[in-house]
């Protein structure tokens, strides 16, 4: 587990990070969400040791993170970059060797990754000859080629078409399932919502919310329910402890003051007709995001 504790960073006089603390757990995908300039990239650069923090510390499995451990991290920087004139496979092999792989092992890793990411046929093309989407895939391959135990990906999905997003999501999920701790940032909240197990929301350099996705959603959801029945729900307005938000014949959305009130509604609805749907309405990530920042 990667644990950030009270990280602060100031650029000149502008505070970029102010007491940032959160953790990235092994085997889980942690989504890192925040607006432009909120501090995501700075946090990630500090994690990788590319930038130094002014204060605070980072621990990996309870021990202070050092340069040696960082060498095993996989990193995809916000600013994309590989050697434009170098062949894709060659770059991957080079990067893996920089991380300590032998030529042969690096080659094997590069080949299987390129297959996985659908770049197998372009392995001997120079990077600059690839389409932007394929360059992006190559970039992701570059962060994975040394089998990192910790993955830090800055906006890994930007610039990918929906099919490519699916491919990359699949690859990242596999890595997490294999035990890697994955931290990724994204502007695309739907993808984060679909993909992440844990969520960290940052705004203006400080963490506004952090925790398991479902717990956060429950925490930020009003006790709101949607019900669909075959009968008329006109009686709902007169139920004590219930306030109706939307109503249209057999379809209604309401807030319940307490859980027992919602159960009472469900029992009466079943008694009066067929209930086709009864569901708590959870706050979407976008809603939570707007609420906390």
């Amino acid at each position: 587990m990667l644990q950030l504790d009270n990280i602060s960073k100031t650029f000149g006089t502008r505070p970029a990070l102010d007491g940032v603390s959160f953790s990235v757990r092994d085997g889980r995908m942690t989504g890192f969400v925040g607006g432009n300039g909120a501090g995501k990239t700075t946090t990630m650069r500090i994690l990788l040791g590319v930038l130094e923090s002014d204060a605070g510390n980072i621990q990996l499995d309870g021990k202070p993170l050092d340069a040696e451990q960082r060498r095993h991290f996989g990193y995809m920087p916000e600013e994309r970059g590989l050697y434009p004139k170098m062949k894709v496979r060659e770059q991957l092999v080079y990067l893996a060797r920089l991380h300590g792989y032998t030529q042969a092992a690096a080659g094997r890793n590069a080949d299987s990754l390129l297959e996985e990411l659908g770049l197998g046929e372009r392995r001997d093309s120079t990077l600059e000859s690839l389409s932007l989407g394929n360059q992006q895939r190559a970039q992701i391959a570059a962060s994975l080629v040394h089998d990192p135990a910790v993955l830090v990906l800055d906006e890994p999905f930007s610039g990918l078409d929906p099919l490519a997003v699916d491919t990359v999501v699949e690859v990242l999920k596999q890595r997490a399932a294999g035990g890697a701790a994955v931290l990724f940032s994204s502007h695309q909240l739907e993808i984060v919502e679909r993909l992440c197990d844990d969520l960290v929301i940052i705004a203006e350099g400080s963490i506004r919310a952090a925790g398991e996705r479902e717990a956060l959603r429950a925490q930020h959801s009003a006790p709101r329910y949607t019900i669909v029945t075959s009968g008329d729900l006109g009686w709902l307005r007169d139920e004590p402890g219930i306030s109706v938000l939307e109503f249209d014949g057999g379809h209604a959305t309401f807030d319940a003051a307490e859980a027992s009130a919602s159960q009472r509604v469900l029992r009466r609805a079943v008694a009066e007709g067929d209930v086709t749907s009864f569901a708590p309405q959870r706050a979407s990530l976008a809603q939570i995001f707007r609420e906390v920042i």
Binding site: D26, L51, F73, Y75, G81, Y83, L98, H99, G179
Partner: protein, 368 residues
């Protein structure tokens, strides 16, 4: 933490450096422009050697027709090929049909000179010089003598250092900027220490430059001995070895500075102006050696200034004006300066590598 990386050690510093250097070298060796430049440089050296051979041959053999009484004496003149004839008529015939360059005959009684030269349109100067009675000459400042050969040697050392510096220096800077511009530097920095990155670049490109300079030196040596210019070789041999030694250290000095300067800009377009101060350090000794290769004072100063020592000291050794200990002192000075330049370059490199946008100022780059 998990099995994926457990037990796999990070590569040692030296391994990282070697990997970076290896990539630099293979990338260069695949670049057409690099191969073409090297080819042209080698051809220039070869051409120079061959031209020198032809030049020295053409002055060295003057064919002379003479009569029996003079032939034994003339045979001792270096560069003269003697044909013995019976009398003046026969000698004149050989000259006019251009079988020989000139005829040398005993002069008629009462003449100032004991011999007479007969030639077609111009008397061979070598012959005239040899047979003239020259007054005794005392040189008060013998170091200031200049000969075409010393000029050619000066030009040779100067041009080779200049071309190598101007080829490989900016190449290092460009390769640093490329990594900065494409932002791969962030990935590299997360994989290897920054110092390994810079060391690899400097070493990789320096090795290429050394290989090139050694190839040039070898070509010059082989060429000179094949074309029968062993005399030039014996004059040039030791200075050439010193030149290679000075070059190797002097080049690392330049390479470190170029790497630092490269890190200061974010785009190739800005590189030219940022490199100017360092390119001046290459240009100045080049022009100085061309204009002042016959000025002993300037040469002595040049041979101790680290930036011009790789050109200045071999030149003085070639002219034979340097004591045996002088190149050693100059070499130590160069080594110390190179050490400092590597530290300075590394500092600038470290401080500037992640700063994107406009050019990093010198004070910012050095102070951090």
């Amino acid at each position: 933490m998990n099995s994926a990386t457990a037990g796999r050690p990070s590569p040692r510093f030296s391994q990282s450096v070697a990997l970076v250097a290896e990539r630099e070298i293979t990338t260069r060796l695949r670049s057409k422009s690099f191969l073409i430049t090297t080819g042209i440089l080698l051809l220039l050296v070869l051409g120079g050697v061959i031209a020198g051979g032809i030049f020295s041959k053409s002055i060295s053999t003057t064919t002379v027709a003479t009569v029996g009484s003079l032939s034994s004496e003339l045979s001792n003149v270096p560069g003269v090929e003697v044909t013995t004839v019976e009398d003046r008529t026969e000698a004149e015939a050989l000259v006019s049909e251009e079988t020989v360059d000139a005829a040398v005959l005993p002069s008629e009684k009462g003449a100032v000179s004991p011999v007479l030269i007969i030639a077609n349109s111009e008397a061979p100067s070598l012959l005239v010089q040899w047979l003239s009675v020259s007054p005794e000459v005392i040189l008060l400042d013998p170091e200031n003598q200049s000969s075409p050969l010393s000029y050619i040697a000066a030009l040779g050392f100067g041009i080779i250092f200049f071309i190598s510096g101007m080829t490989f220096g900016p190449m290092i800077a460009q390769s640093v900027v490329e990594e900065k511009q494409t932002r791969i530097v962030e990935i590299l920095m997360s994989a290897v220490p920054v110092s390994a990155l810079m060391a690899g670049k400097v070493i990789g490109n320096s090795l290429l430059a050394f290989a090139q300079i050694i190839a040039i030196a070898a070509l010059a040596v082989v060429g000179l001995s094949v074309t029968g210019q062993a005399e030039v070789l014996s004059l040039l041999g030791a200075p050439l070895l010193w030149f290679v030694g000075f070059f190797i250290i002097g080049f690392v000095l330049l390479a470190a500075l170029f790497a630092g300067v490269g890190a200061m800009v974010s785009r190739q377009e800005d590189l030219g102006s940022a490199m100017t101060p360092v390119t001046m350090l290459i240009m100045l000794p080049y022009f100085a050696i061309i204009f002042f290769n016959d000025n002993a004072t300037v040469l002595t100063v040049m041979s101790y200034i680290p930036f011009s020592a790789p050109v200045g000291m071999p030149m003085r050794l070639f002219l034979g004006t340097a004591e045996w200990w002088e190149p050693l002192i100059s070499l130590v000075l160069l080594l110390v300066t190179t050490g400092l330049a590597v530290l300075l370059g590394a500092r600038i490199y470290n401080n500037s590598l992640l700063k994107v946008g406009s050019r990093v100022s010198w004070s910012e780059a050095i102070k951090g």
